[in-house]
Assembly symmetry: D2
């Protein structure tokens, strides 16, 4: 009989550095000690810091974004031992709720400096920018991006079970290979990095090993999910995660109040600290039974609900800004799609950075439209017109509204 309060399986502390909280960690490794046990069927709450561990402030200056130390993230809560979980099982994770902390009803979206993380459009927007979002129940709005307001599709950016040693070795192999073959003038992957690695409550020796070997939490990875940044893993969703180690060692973090498809500005969701409510089930031997190589999920039934007839939709193709034709490159096409939206919305007085931030965090729909018509991939981005308090439709007059400014670094603007 569920008459009592729900157990909080992990509490975070806002008065202590994330590095000193032993129930957090920021690397993936099979040996990070568990922080507690959860029984399948039990409903539990887990608290999470924002992914930076509190590096970003609720103010009007993006210096904190510029200086954000990217060896630290993501601070994850866990890992939890799931009772009875064995390698080969599938862990079914039902997200029953996600909420910001009552006394921290705000979050942030940021464009990172091209030289410190960057983002999907950093060739165009290389400098840091930031927007603070205030939460009003299910809605959010920002003093940095006026005239928009939308309901959050609240979710965790990261969920996953710990890799086995074999899986970890494979990650490090293939990502090292990518790095070693890199010819681009940018960082293409983050390899294990002892600096600021947080191995939870691991004793010194073990910690050293974890710091040396532990995979970064930055990418999602097919074998376990991780930082997928899928906006639909919200309230009511069920995610099926492969189990690689005894006890599953499940971790969660990087809570988002809202995110657009692609999370294009990198720190692009509305990042927040908060509380997530879970119920777990186990599907014994589920990996083989489901022929599962990567996680699958079913979204919840209560997503924000916009009419298709109210989605202003932009097209983009795999011809880049320089007019160069790429072969079936969806990444190029999606970047072009984003740029088309920015050009369109700038007409209303927003700056490019404001729109870049907005497309990152608002519930925009990014679709792969056509992927077989050589040489052009075609993608679309749908913008729900209902999130604006003025008419953005193509026929509407372009009003002169005060669009204010997002936060920049102290040197700029």
């Amino acid at each position: 009989m569920g008459t009592g309060p729900i157990r909080t399986a992990l509490k975070v502390d806002f008065n202590k550095p994330a590095q000193e909280q032993p129930y957090l960690h920021n690397r993936w490794h099979p040996d990070i000690p568990t922080v507690g046990k959860i029984t399948p069927g039990e409903v539990v709450k887990v608290e999470c810091l924002d992914w930076t561990g509190g590096q970003i402030q609720n103010n009007d200056c993006a210096d904190d974004v510029k200086d954000c130390d990217l060896t630290q993230p993501h601070y994850l809560s866990g890992p939890f031992e799931i009772e009875g979980a064995d390698p080969g099982d599938v862990l079914v994770v039902e997200i029953q709720d996600v909420q910001p902390f009552e006394d921290r009803p705000w979050g942030f979206t940021a464009v990172f400096d091209k030289k410190n993380g960057g983002g999907f459009l950093d060739a165009h927007y290389p400098q840091p920018a930031k927007a603070i979002w205030d939460f009003e129940g299910i809605f959010c709005s920002s003093r940095h991006i006026p005239h928009v307001r939308f309901p959050g599709l609240i979710h965790p950016g990261i969920m996953g079970c710990a890799p086995s040693t074999e899986v970890l070795v494979e990650w490090n192999r293939r990502e090292s290979e990518l790095v070693s073959m890199n010819t681009l003038d940018r960082v293409v992957a983050e390899l294990p990095q002892p600096k600021n690695a947080h191995a939870g409550s691991a004793p010194e020796d073990l910690k050293a090993k974890i710091c040396r070997e532990g995979a970064r939490t930055i990418p999602g990875r097919p074998e376990h999910g991780g930082n997928c940044d899928i906006k639909n893993l919200s309230r009511g969703s069920k995610t099926y995660l492969p189990v690689h180690v005894p006890g599953a060692k499940f971790s969660v973090g990087d809570l988002h109040f809202s995110q657009g498809d692609g999370e294009i500005s990198f720190c692009g969701a509305i990042e927040m600290a908060g509380i997530i409510t879970f119920k777990f089930e186990l599907m014994k031997g589920g990996i083989q039974e489901l022929e599962m190589k990567s996680p699958i999920f079913i979204p919840g039934p209560v997503e924000p609900h916009f009419s298709p007839g109210r989605m202003l939709t932009f097209e983009g193709f795999s011809v880049d800004e320089a007019g160069k034709q790429h072969y079936m490159d969806v990444t190029v096409a999606y970047r072009q799609t984003c740029l088309r939206v920015i050009e369109y919305l700038k007409r209303f007085g927003y700056s490019g950075e404001q729109i870049y931030l907005l497309l990152s965090c608002a519930p925009v729909q990014g679709h792969v439209a056509g992927i077989v018509d050589i040489p052009n991939a075609c993608t679309t981005m749908g913008i729900p017109m209902d999130i604006f308090d003025f008419d953005i439709s193509p026929g509407a007059p372009v009003l002169k509204l005060d669009m204010g400014s997002c936060a920049y670094t102290s040197g700029k603007k």
Copy 2:
């Protein structure tokens, strides 16, 4: 007062080869003669052949797919002069309805031979396959893929205004460059091809020029749209197309009864002949006013409506089948996502080709999920569980149903 019947601006003839019908064409060129005039505000119907011009038959053998001549497509209806349209305008195309012909209530989906067109998964499914779909009002079902049935999101794969000479030159420049730089062991773009070029009613001299210069209709292109294969351009949608030549010279074709995001098997929609009802408006000087570089659109308000809680969703990442890590490659990630769905659904007894065909044409949702978490792009594909007449959810027992077979070439199976 709209009391009379709607004017049919173009009729096709099923008893004549497409090449002999002067109101069709299969290349993009500014000089193809117009086939009629349409006034903004008028409601008109336009008939279209299927894109192959009738090369594919309603039977149980895929030899016609194997032998399909890819120098012919796509047979487009038009171009139409839109009264008053000038370069720089935007042509607003409202699709009021799309219907198959009453006496041809069927369509086809095909996997093309890897050596003749191929498709997104041709490394895995190199041989031709075909499914015939029967239309029952808004629904379709196939004897070649039992136990599925879904409402069509009926739409044209191709709409566009003629390129100007400048635009055409640019297309040919950049696509030639791609071809000349190609190191892949596959065709990366189709350059102008006189063989089987159809220049409508152009007299001989002009026809020769058009055949020599005219761009192929295979890819969508940012400047005008064309073969975008966007499944949401259905009944009630409004598309905003840039005008590049006097009179706009609008053409349409490649009607689809339904398509999934990506149209992955190349001839992946449910291809059909049919009738499309339009109303056009002009936005004078709209290109500059909207800062438009590529088409935009607003879908119609009557799309098939599935609960998010009924979308079984698969994840894929930019690590390929060989375990190679790619850098932020959405194309690779989407291919992996497709493969994950196929592995899952094969458990129920479908062949890989059947599922490949199904994902191409059913209303599956392909999203760009995360595109900033180096080095892995993450994409998702959502499958509406309601289109199956048995339970495909992860917990459901795997029944042994008779899944029959799709059509293969006479040599196979």
Copy 3:
């Protein structure tokens, strides 16, 4: 293999009076001869006149409404023998499509004279009025009610199997009783009426009997459905109808391009002639198996799709216009709700009749909200704001638009 055209099981003739078309009828009676046989599983088309049999014209005068002869309707197509149907079975009716005739792309909505049929608000709007709607594919608009446009949720107002003799006797018993007990100053039910009764192809003797006994088609009735006027019986819906006589004797008519919940102005839907596509199945012994006393249905998956956040919703309670408190009377409450919408929308310049017509036919949502809070029932009516081309939300400025006029009788306005 469904490669051929769909069979049209019944064609109507626009050049002949409805009374002379032997495959039509306008009374419910078990002995009306069948007009053809349909096999379960077969897909068939059935043509229908509008319910008045063509009495209403596409013009700007409501004299035809005033003079409309209400002993004639509804002209139904059928009855059809469903092969193998026996009393006790359930006939499963899948509506695969509904379309207006190609050359009659229009329909009408009318307010009937209080003395000739009346309507739900005839105390307030006692005089005839009319609006003609033009169909543009899935959309409709009216020169008589400017600035609105919406997609149709197209459906038949009437479907049903013939009553058995026992059922018919019961209908006549209880409706006669109502009439005999009537103390209201209005017609409360229409009993069998030989005048203008149409018994299909019945020979004289039988015809006389049918005309004498046959139930009017005006009300829906629990035992078989009939004139339910349920707006959601649209494309893709499945209705489960009890079978009372051998062969089921299924009839259909009263096609609507669109209707609001309640169809409040009586001839309140957008009435049209058209073609409906069916597939039937039989559930042998289904009445007992499903414990069925009245029809049930599952709507189709492609209804027009408005965001709940775009539904302006009005409340009404069971206190009437005179301030009299009624006890839990949903009918009174719903009438009040309608009046509230009219008062609100009149602010924009519409006449009361225009709004009355609009609420009858647009896809408004009428809900029973609270029915237990003595003494007040509470109902709501939700208006999709997206159907207007100006902003009707409570905060919006009230623009002065030209709202024209609906059609009135020649004596009026």
Copy 4:
């Protein structure tokens, strides 16, 4: 800058009788003292008891329902002074969130004794019954009604501004008249009742007046809303309430985790204590500007989302259980509709009381379908099939599942 916690404008106390909490009240009267001031634009939280003030327990016996004292409800939180509100204004109430208390994640649905409140079907289900619902984030389930689970459309049953003296006098006039004319063998309205009246912090003299004159909170009323029990006043909704007294004197209570259209079992929602988050705005002179006689609202954009193709829908008509024909009586029709659903679902092993409880609280859709086809009104009730964990569709086999039992009184079962 909303960086701090949201102010809680009113806290309730679970350790004290509701009658002793001076910031609660259970009658409507203009003179009940305000409990605090709220500024338009401010976001505030307000705590609420369940409507019975804690009379119903989380156990398996319905004796508490049988004995529930109906002179007490509803305990409302307030009234609040809204700064600047004057008679004639409209108070715009945005509900930003509604949540159960963290440590009370449960609610109840009850059938009241026919002699103590009764309900919409008390002729059929005259005895008390109860179901306890456990909340799991957005979902709820009940040990008393197995095999169903659904997301809550959480909302307050009651919101309203205080009546003016004139309005109050009118309420008492018309309801007294109803009572005095009553010929039914049941209570038709609850007139002012000093017993257990709670006038907030009113001093003795004033309290006596309020107890004597104060209107009961049981019905919703057109002039101010009140106990409308509209399930869609959930998160994100905006309600426009007429202001009748200086400062508006806004009160709220009767929180529901979920409710079906009609709330048919009287205490039919999932009743709970909880916390509601508001933001208010004022529309000065709004009553006249909007021609407002009753509240209006716009639902929030995040309602649970079921496909129309998954709504099993039942029809009912105004012919009662005894076969008596009623004239256009929607109340009778809706009762029949409810009975049809019960008959259908009993086939699966549920008791009538279980289904009665379920239809009261699950998100079922009750529509007025046809209201002009004399003599039969037609209503529908749509049941979302997705809330069951087994297949309830008409074709599905009827499995033998253990349906347990709801709670009855100690004397019964």
